[in-house]
């Protein structure tokens, strides 16, 4: 019953979405408030039915109802309860259901908190949201129905792909989807503005928090996915430039650019047309990401559950939405009124600089990801574009961007003083150079990139703090005044500083890990030792251990440093009989921000086991950087000006009495 209920709820959600997609739009055209009002209630109802449908599938999973094909294919009765929940979205059908659920959540949020939006804008936004939702409901119902039954129910399921049986999976896809789908709001706002033919600073004020929320989730989602790949795949890599990773990176870069251009639009009412374009682009890249992952066009470690026939459907969605959006843009954008003027050297100019480099970097990732597909389609030649390509293109484009990062907040709006800003950044630059020289001296003949990268990272970190430090008068005015000023400083200014500081942290971690990591692959028998970077590891022994739906072989290592035992690590190898698959569970020893990483290979005929040992200096800074960046976003989001329902700008309030 429960599956049929879920199926039915999904059909109803589609029906509601279709109403929401058309009626409010008509209302907005005819200026009929009743018809426009339909948008809010249908958005809420549509969310309720999507949630009911998702709950039904979850119930089928938790109850191990193997008469449902999807559950049979991806679950097992012996699986721990938590993975029964997470396997709901550990497969194609379920993850698409999660996708539309999140889409409907965002729609419902606009309906709930959009009370202070102009009526036509609200109606149009919700209608556009419903178009997207309708397309994806149709996609699920026609090509990827998770509620299909099997005539005779099997007794046992096929189990979830073992590498997905991990807490990382519980968190990674929902966060990623909250990011991807969150950008649908900025997309809908952009389309609504184009339909309306008007756009102003209030529009940007509305769009920015939504974009910021989506961007924060996407940042966390990518970071989480990266950490999951790091410890679960057993290769010790945290970023592979895999097409599917790129698929999430592209909307992130475009979203970052959008965040920055929306600032210009909000503060200075400039860059309107560009901001709209970025909003469309960001969500288009999210859709493209969904297409790349879900269609199976890629040869990738991520395409677990893919089917080319579905690709055609998603491709159609992609073409209709992206093509439609760009056509509308080409038609309507020239009609939008031009915004404020600014000199090339100014805060606006700096943000444009940011946008140029981010979009160019995004374009290189785009080329690297899609070029192999295009080439194969055109010439039948198969190539792979790997890390070297991206390091060569993405890297050089990020260097000028990172150098410019501390300048931005120091330049005034409209017309800035670049020499003044450079003077204020003297200390940051000097410390960066000191770091460069220090690294150069310490590592001697080590990798050439390391001193420059670390120097740049230090410069970005210190430079990010220059603006708040000057503004609160640290060490120049009495401490109490500093504290008072720090409290008075807008949260968004703190947010900017924190997020930019985090970019420096991230770079620091990336450089340290990539340039200084040590790797040893050895074959060990019990009792034998190996040493890596001053850590001595002794294999004490191997022991089998049963798990709920797997068997595992555990290796016990005693880790010593300078003769003293500091920890015991137990990496393991799990075998899942249901799928005849095995996974490697790496063991991690964290010392400060650095990690010692152990993963197991096969046991040889002589009883020796292959072991992969890495020492990864400061690797945790990569993910700490992402988390701190999100904290910066949260600080900015908590700024009064951006809070939903904040008072209208004073300019408008002043105009009202005159009316």
């Amino acid at each position: 019953m429960i599956a049929e209920f879920g199926h039915y709820a999904l059909v109803l959600a589609l029906a509601l979405a279709l109403i929401q997609a058309t009626v409010p739009l008509w209302g907005a055209r005819t200026n009929d408030l009743t018809l426009m009002g339909v948008a809010g209630s249908t958005a809420l109802a549509q969310f309720a039915f999507a949630a009911a449908s998702f709950a039904a599938l979850t119930a089928a999973y938790v109850g191990s109802d193997f008469s449902v094909l999807n559950v049979f294919q991806n679950s097992h009765s012996a699986m721990p309860l938590i993975y029964k929940f997470t396997s709901v979205w550990g497969n194609h059908e379920g993850s698409m259901l999660l996708w539309v659920l999140i889409l409907s959540i965002f729609g419902a949020l606009v309906a709930l908190f959009g009370g202070n939006l102009p009526d036509t804008l609200r109606a149009n936004v919700l209608a556009v949201q419903a178009w997207i939702a309708s397309a994806f409901y149709l996609f699920i119902l026609i090509t990827s129905n998770p509620f299909l039954r099997i005539a005779q129910a099997p007794a046992e399921g096929r189990d979830l792909n073992p590498i997905l049986q991990d807490i990382g999976l519980a968190v990674h896809p929902p966060l990623l989807y909250l990011g991807y789908v969150g950008f649908s709001i900025s997309f809908s706002f952009a389309i609504a503005a184009l339909i309306d033919g008007k756009i102003d600073a209030a529009w940007a004020r509305w769009v920015r928090p939504w974009t910021l929320v989506a961007w924060m989730f996407l940042t966390l989602g990518i970071a989480m996915g990266s950490y999951w790949a790091y410890y679960e795949l057993g290769w010790g890599g945290w970023w592979f430039w895999d097409p599917v990773e790129n698929a999430s990176l592209m909307p992130w870069i475009a979203g970052t650019a959008l965040l920055h251009s929306a600032v210009v639009m909000e503060k200075r009412n400039a860059l309107k047309v560009w901001t709209i374009l970025l909003a469309i682009l960001t969500f288009s890249l999210s859709l493209l990401g969904t297409f790349l992952v879900r269609s199976g066009v890629l040869t990738s470690v991520h395409t677990f559950a893919s089917d080319p026939s579905r690709g055609v459907f998603i491709l159609a969605i992609l073409v209709i939405f992206i093509g439609g959006a760009f056509a509308l843009y080409a038609w309507r954008a020239p009609a939008l009124k031009q915004g404020g003027l600014f000199a090339p050297i100014s805060r606006e100019g700096a943000l444009v600089f940011n946008n140029l480099f981010l979009t160019a970097a995004c374009a290189t990732v785009f080329v690297g990801t899609l070029y192999p597909l295009a080439l194969e389609a055109l010439t039948d030649e198969k190539i792979s574009v790997g890390a070297p390509f991206f390091n060569l293109t993405f890297g050089p484009l990020f260097v000028p961007l990172l150098i410019a990062v501390p300048f931005g907040p120091l330049l005034a709006w409209k017309r800035g003083d670049i020499l003044g800003a450079a003077q204020r950044l003297m200390w940051a630059a000097a410390l960066g150079l000191v770091a460069l020289a220090a690294v150069f001296a310490v590592q001697g003949g080590g990798p050439v990139l390391a001193p420059f990268g670390i120097g740049l990272a230090v410069y970005v970190m210190i430079g990010a703090l220059v603006d708040p430090i000057e503004r609160i008068g640290l060490f120049r005015v009495p401490f109490a005044t500093t504290v008072a000023r720090a409290r008075g400083l807008p949260r968004s200014a703190w947010g900017t500083a924190v997020a930019h500081f985090a970019a420096g942290m991230l770079l620091f971690g990336v450089i340290a890990e990539s340039q200084w990591n040590a790797e040893r692959i050895v074959s060990l028998k019990p009792g034998e030792s190996v040493s890596v970077r001053g850590y001595d590891l002794t294999l004490d022994g191997l022991a089998p251990r049963p798990g709920p739906n797997y068997r595992e072989l555990i290796a016990r290592f005693t880790v010593r440093q300078g003769g003293e035992v500091i920890d015991v690590l137990t990496p393991s190898k799990r075998t899942f009989p249901q799928r005849s698959m095995s996974t490697t569970e790496a063991a991690l020893l964290t010392r400060g921000a650095s990690q010692l990483y152990l993963s197991l290979g096969d046991v040889g005929s002589d009883g020796a086991i292959a072991v992969r040992i890495y020492h990864k200096p400061l690797v945790l800074l990569i993910w700490f950087g992402c988390v701190v960046m999100v904290l910066g976003g949260a600080l900015s989001l908590s700024d009064r000006r951006l809070r939903v329902g904040a008072p209208k700008p004073a300019r408008k309030a002043a105009l009202q009495p005159a009316e």
């Binding site: 094909l69 049979f72 299909l148 099997i150 005539a151 129910a153 099997p154 007794a155 046992e156 792909n161 590498i163 057993g234 890629l298 040869t299 470690v301 395409t303 677990f304 559950a305 893919s306 089917d307 003027l341 600014f342 000199a343 090339p344 444009v352 600089f353 140029l356 480099f357 160019a360 970097a361 374009a363 290189t364 080329v367 690297g368 070029y371 192999p372 198969k382 190539i383 792979s384 574009v385 790997g386 070297p388 390509f389 060569l392 293109t393 050089p396 484009l397 692959i521 050895v522 074959s523 190898k573 249901q578 698959m581 095995s582 996974t583 490697t584 290979g601 096969d602 292959a610 992969r612």
Partner: protein, 166 residues
């Protein structure tokens, strides 16, 4: 500056950055892409020793040999030709004889492929797409589950027969 000059500055900067990006892309594409080859390609196209390629196919049954110090050798076949591969390191969890594999590295002058990375599929039904295509080309693709244990890739998402039990 007039509005027009400002706009020109902006457009100039935009084109400059795009030009830089395009130059980087072209430069990188020239040097850092890797072509995929099946064993037949390797033999017939006379791939030059030392040039970096990807070699994909099936691990030929009975050819996997493990030596000392994690040295491994095996042959990759597409049913028509096969190429000997040597590799030092830990093989992926799902590396097995008779299964699909993609390796990256270069041929040495003796005709052995020195792989520095070995990618295997990530579950029991996944077949690297290039491998599947290469096998289809050689006419060794068996979607019905016979032959090389390739059952998965073609049929994996098809519903099991009613009442299927595993």
């Amino acid at each position: 500056m007039t509005r027009k000059q400002r706009r020109l500055t902006l457009i100039g900067a935009g084109l400059g950055v795009l030009g830089l990006a395009a130059a980087l892309v072209l430069f990188a594409l020239k040097d850092s892409i890797v072509f995929f080859n099946s064993p037949t390609d390797v033999v017939e196209k006379h791939v030059a020793p030392g040039s970096r390629i990807r070699l994909g196919g099936l691990v030929k049954e009975g050819t996997l040999k493990r030596g000392d110090n994690l040295q491994v050798s095996f042959e990759v076949t597409d049913g028509n030709k096969s190429v000997p591969v040597s590799y030092t390191g830990i093989l992926p969890d799902l590396f097995r004889e008779g299964q699909g594999v993609v390796t990256e590295g270069a041929l040495n002058t003796a005709g052995t492929f020195k792989a520095d990375s070995v990618l295997a599929k990530h579950d029991e039904t996944y077949m690297p797409k290039e491998v599947a295509d290469a096998l289809k080309k050689q006419g060794h693709w068996k979607a019905d589950g016979g032959g090389y244990g390739l059952a998965g890739a073609a049929t994996k998402d098809a519903p099991p027969p009613a009442g299927a039990k595993k």
